[in-house]
Assembly symmetry: C2
Amino acid sequence: MDKFAEKTLHTERIFQGKVISLQVDDVQLPDGNTSKREIVKHPGAVAIIPITEDGKMVLVEQYRKALERSLIEIPAGKLESGEEPRTTAFRELEEETGYTTNDLQYITSFATSPGFADEVIHLYVAKNITVVENKRAGDDDEFVELVEVTLAEAEQLEQDNRIWDAKTAYAIMYARWKGIVK
Amino acid sequence: MDKFAEKTLHTERIFQGKVISLQVDDVQLPDGNTSKREIVKHPGAVAIIPITEDGKMVLVEQYRKALERSLIEIPAGKLESGEEPRTTAFRELEEETGYTTNDLQYITSFATSPGFADEVIHLYVAKNITVVENKRAGDDDEFVELVEVTLAEAEQLEQDNRIWDAKTAYAIMYARWKGIVK
């Protein structure tokens, strides 16, 4: 039901970066008035809930410059141009954690910031994970550290705000609901 | 643990809008190399899970220009300058739904897109909601429509991708877990 659809009257392209781009659209509102919409374009991403043989979640700690602090998150990464999300999920799982899987299940997809960005994350759970012998290198500018946690430990990290992002908060809830972590 | 902290060498301010701003930071990485970080600044926001007397969730449908489609979401809105999140929550609940509450409980906060934005959402649940007689008007350029749903209906909307954003997906999981919707 898009009866409130906003017609684009003009698009001003402000910035084209290596991760995101920014544009400002002049739009016609449902009541005929006009407004401006500031829109961040993002290629989309995947996130994976990797579960070890003994029922722990594999998380990654990394510095997030936008927030000027480290966060502990589920592994995630951007889609490369033309890449199927499932392919990205295998690649990012290996690059960020050194694990691979023969059991990658799609869970759901969601927009992260619909008010100003088009980013969509595709979420997977990876069971039966095994260590990759000679793992692919990740991006040059990514420094991550693995953290393997039980459900109780993940919930404590969330209490302590060391886990503090929506996709990981969702993942912990999902893992609790499905009983896939111990 | 911020041993991977990235020191800002230079900040280039690209854009200052009415909702977001954009900057590109040159950073020094932990290995001494440099990189660029594209960062969207956002004032932060609140989101509310309003629960009616008969145990339904109050959702709002609105057009999201960034995604070029309508989404059904929990009510949410940006912090105004200097505003306490709790105050924003009362204001947005009233503006977007026409309800108010004497029982607003803080649940948690999370960053929505830590890879490129500093947006943090503060999430509340509102019980004992009642209709406001003469409700405050919302923003001129916001057109929203109320949708009151049971848990089963919310889950069906999620299946149908009409609910398709992280904060609302989290809210439904939370409501199921806590048994606050029927």
